[in-house]
């Protein structure tokens, strides 16, 4: 077995017991990247720094990769957009500071859909990332590079961001575990904003126990993020006595039951329901009529409105792509933005501008904020009846890259219906591995919990993983 194949907790144990050195581990992971990156294009920037900031930290010597919308001081951060050019942030995101202070070593910045707007990781100014289980297919997105990097064994864990499913959907398509924490659980300071009331940073890993380790580092109050939780403590430690689902209620969403699922996803649902029942949980049904019918429109109205505001800052004055010969400020802004943003980002900015204009604001933006209230209330009621909700994390297996052009833009948004309601209500969601389908592609599902139930969801995830087994490392196109 190669060192890169170890899971995070095994790496930590091996380093601690001096079975191998941090240098050997980093070299093994770097070699893995060398052999696969030309197939996968999971990274925008590679780094070969081997400095360990804290040799006694919990993650001392463990390599990681961050989605390239997470700011890293003096290291190029692009959000996969031409508009940021060669920008090197003057500060670190809080999440990177926490990981570095725990001893982790950054070896790459991962590809994404531009400004995290997309669900395929093909809408990047740096080219498409490929699914490491089948390089003719997408890895999902927007955090596709982070998911692919963990699936292919570049690193044992990585970070992504999830505004409407951008951690959970690629985790599902790449066959890894991905966790979107409760809104407020992990600081977003230094995350390049897309939809600020929806954005959340979270980890990918190849076991749920590894997610626990990363969450124990990341879940801290940060006064630099006004949404960061206060006066609470969350225990993400691995504790076998808490791995018990006896008497727990796990709900299926009534309105989603009439949807035609792909056979591999339907089979996975049946398999996991049986596992949960065998563990003593009760499967029930909850009704979420507003969530199922109005979330999609509500989400995109809000995400685009917030994107339009957040992306106003890109004007070519202080950083990123710029022009030198503009006759006036208006011309400079227009030239910089028209060249710098890709098509999907332009769609969303223009749509957001449209929805927030005074003549349309009440009809669309304000209405969407009210629909969001109904969505959150419906979820809150559901969680008085159930502990968790079980549903798919993606509506289909990973699409072929060359078939994406045939999918209408708005139609592609519908694929997010299983994930984006979770962001509207600020809930935690775990995308977990269930097994492989007939094409040897991984199939994932999703467990959703009430706000701040993050430790309980991960414990439930371990119970499931104990039955399904952990995913194997993908071959990344190598024979």
């Amino acid at each position: 077995m190669q060192l890169y194949e170890l899971n995070l907790h095994e790496m930590i144990e091996g380093l601690k017991a001096k079975k191998f050195s941090a240098d050997e581990l980093l070299t093994s992971c770097q070699n893995r990247i060398d052999s696969l990156e030309k197939n996968l294009n999971a990274l925008i920037t590679r780094l070969d720094d081997k400095k360990i900031s804290n040799p006694s930290g919990i993650l001392a010597g463990v390599p990681t990769i961050l989605k390239d919308n997470i700011c890293t001081r003096d290291i190029k951060t692009t959000a996969a957009s031409k508009i940021l050019g060669e920008w090197k942030p003057p500060y670190d995101a809080t999440v990177w500071k926490l990981l570095r202070d725990a001893g982790s070593v950054l070896i790459g910045k991962a590809n994404l859909d531009e400004f995290a707007m997309g669900s395929s990781c093909t809408k990047s100014a740096y080219g498409a990332t490929k699914n490491p289980h089948d390089i003719s297919r997408v890895p999902g997105g927007s955090s596709g590079g982070s998911a692919a990097a963990v699936a292919a064994g570049y690193v044992p864990f990585s970070l992504g961001s999830d505004t409407g499913g951008s951690i959970r959907q690629p985790a599902s398509l790449c066959g890894v575990y991905g966790f979107k924490p409760t809104y407020g659980m992990v600081s977003r300071y230094g995350l390049i904003s897309y939809g600020s009331s929806l954005d959340q940073i979270g980890p990918f890993a190849r076991t749920v126990r590894d997610l626990q380790i990363v969450m124990s580092v990341l879940a801290h109050h940060d006064e630099m993020d006004s949404s960061s939780f206060r006066e609470k403590n969350y225990d993400f430690s691995y504790d076998e006595s808490k791995l018990n689902l006896k008497g727990k209620k796990i709900a299926l969403v009534k309105e989603f039951q009439s949807f035609n699922l792909e056979p591999s996803i339907a089979n996975a649902m049946d398999k996991i329901k049986k596992i949960l029942e065998d563990e003593g949980a009760e499967i029930i049904e909850v009704s979420l009529p507003v969530v199922s019918k109005y979330s999609l429109a509500c989400y995109y109205a809000l995400a685009m409105s917030e994107a339009h505001t957040n992306l106003e800052r890109y004007d070519g004055v202080r950083y990123g792509y710029t022009v030198q010969d503009a006759s006036g400020l208006k011309e400079m802004f227009e030239r910089v933005r028209s060249y710098g943003f890709g098509p999907e980002v332009k769609y969303r900015i223009i749509a957001g501008t449209c929805l927030t204009e005074p003549s349309r604001c009440d009809e669309y933006y304000v209405a969407a904020t009210k629909v969001r209230t109904l969505v959150a209330q419906e979820f809150a009621r559901a969680f008085t009846q159930t502990d968790f909700i079980l549903q798919p994390a993606a509506s289909s297996k990973a699409p072929k890259i060359n078939e994406l052009d045939q999918i209408d833009e708005l139609k592609s948004y519908e694929a997010d219906l299983y994930t984006l309601p979770v962001n509207l209500a600020g809930l935690p969601g775990l995308s977990f591995f269930t097994g492989y389908d007939d094409d040897n592609l991984p199939v994932g599902l999703q467990l959703i919990g009430a706000r701040w139930s993050d430790p309980e969801i991960l414990n439930a995830g371990i119970v499931i993983e104990n039955h399904t087994g952990s995913p194997k490392i993908a071959n990344g196109g190598l024979n």
Binding site: S197, S227, Y294, V317, R318, K330, Y347, I350, C354, L355
Partner: protein
């Protein structure tokens, strides 16, 4: 209500985006389909519903009103191609009519 090509172009310019003819055509189709999708809100009675906010952020947490100078101002300045005497310099704001 369907938006015309001219209206969408005006909105794009408001966002400081100049679209090619092909981009404009795609955007008109996209926006109009999107607005049709949002018309579903009219099926709901939202009269007495409050706009959403997270309970935890209803009260905006404030830090002490103290100055903490950012320690890496040079790091900010270094990233701009429009700097003069440590200040950002922009092209003229008032343009000739």
């Amino acid at each position: 209500m369907k938006l015309t090509k001219e209206e969408v172009n005006d909105i794009a310019l408001e966002s400081r985006l100049v679209l090619t003819e092909k981009e404009l055509e795609g955007t008109v189709k996209f926006i109009n389909n999107f607005l049709t999708m949002l018309d579903s809100f009219k099926e709901l009675d939202l009269k007495d519903v409050e706009p959403f906010s997270f309970a935890e952020t209803l009260e905006c947490p404030l830090r002490a009103d103290e100055i903490h100078p950012f320690e890496n101002t040079q790091g900010i300045i270094n990233q701009s191609a429009h700097v003069e005497d440590n200040l950002f310099k922009v092209p003229r704001i008032m343009e000739a009519q």
